[in-house]
């Protein structure tokens, strides 16, 4: 029966057309992360103007006198890819997006020798990991997914 077969093929074609973009989005859509490495210190000093936004976030929570931007790295990753940033302490900061959605990205994070964990990073709401001693202050790593 040629007509039912044609109808079936049309149906399958329609399904494929509906399905393909979603699969491409899920499998191929890269997520752009920004990793900012800061040094905060109790010694008197300046606040790096490049980190004005982060300073506004941190100053009410953490006590410090100076803040310096050490590195800013942008990394594009697909889900399950691993991103790595070398920290000035010689250790590495690794992260892997596990799941991405419109509300945010679920990320596994490994700050070598300091902390590991899974975090949901809402779009535009940074994850700030701090604490490791560095020089006379502490190292802070800020991981952000674009808004």
């Amino acid at each position: 029966m040629p007509l039912p077969r044609t109808a079936l093929l049309l149906l399958l074609g329609t399904l494929a057309a509906l399905w393909a973009p979603r699969q491409a989005e899920a499998a191929g859509g890269a997520i752009r992360f920004t990793v900012t490495v800061l040094e905060v210190s109790g010694n008197p000093g300046k606040v790096d103007p490049r980190a004005a936004r982060l300073h506004a976030l941190l100053k009410a929570k953490i006590r410090y006198e100076s803040l310096k931007v050490l590195a800013v790295t942008r990394v594009s990753l697909k889900v399950d890819d691993i991103g790595q940033v070398r920290l000035p302490t010689g250790k590495s900061f690794r992260f892997r997006p596990i799941d991405a959605g419109p509300s945010g990205v679920l990320v596994a994070v490994d700050m070598q020798g300091t902390a590991q964990g899974d975090f949901r990073i809402p779009r535009g709401k940074p994850l700030i990991l701090g604490g490791p001693s560095y020089k006379e202050g502490q190292l802070v790593v800020v991981l952000e997914a674009p808004a």
């Binding site: 905060v40 953490i62 020798g113 300091t114 902390a115 590991q116 975090f119």
Partner: protein, 198 residues
């Protein structure tokens, strides 16, 4: 079985309401397009009406009269036994099941393709789990603008703890502490904002 015979069987089954789903749709479409099929269907309906009117007029339970009547009815070519027309053959039933299965699979596929991806179904909040290699950690995840994890690994940080006369709750624990961590107020640990950690 010849194609004509199969079509006639389909028509009879359609007329008797024995077709379901996809099969019924295809037969209805053929009837709509094929004048010969329409004529056959009309003949079947006329025959049905005729039989019902005889039944109504003569009542039931007169087999002799029915036999005589049947001999006078217009003959319809029936390629198969009466039973096989009422019950579709195995091949037709299999085709029906195949159609129903395909329709169900298509419905599921459409649902998967169209419905939104549920994605991460874990509870709200930023922290899923944390391990701070034995160091106390402070988690500020309820902040509207950022999630802050502060690991107190250095002597300077320990000093900050001494100064605040507070012990961090939740995250402070033995090496390998895992699981959700209860956030504490930053003021508890760090005192007023604007001072130094160390």
């Amino acid at each position: 079985m010849r194609r004509e015979d199969r079509r006639l069987l389909d028509l009879q089954a359609y007329h008797d309401g024995e077709l379901s789903g996809l099969r019924r749709f295809f037969v209805a479409r053929r009837i709509a397009r094929d004048p010969a099929a329409r004529r056959e269907l009309l003949a079947l309906r006329a025959l049905g009406r005729e039989l019902r009117s005889f039944d109504a007029r003569l009542g039931e339970g007169d087999p002799a009269l029915w036999s005589a009547l049947r001999d006078q009815l217009p003959t319809q070519r029936r390629p198969a036994a009466e039973g096989s027309a009422r019950r579709p053959r195995f091949g037709m039933r299999a085709a029906g099941w195949l159609g129903a299965g395909l329709a169900a699979a298509a419905a599921v596929a459409v649902a998967l393709a169209v419905l939104p991806n549920p994605g991460d179904l874990s509870p709200p909040g930023s922290l899923r789990w944390l391990r701070s290699d034995g160091y106390p950690a402070v988690v500020l995840q309820d902040d509207r603008e950022a999630t802050i994890i502060w690991v107190l690994e250095g002597s300077d940080n320990a000093g900050a703890l001494e100064k605040s006369k507070q012990r961090p709750e939740g995250p402070a624990g033995p090496a390998g502490t895992t699981g959700p961590v209860r956030p504490i107020s930053p003021a508890d640990l760090f005192g007023r904002a604007g001072g130094a950690l160390a």
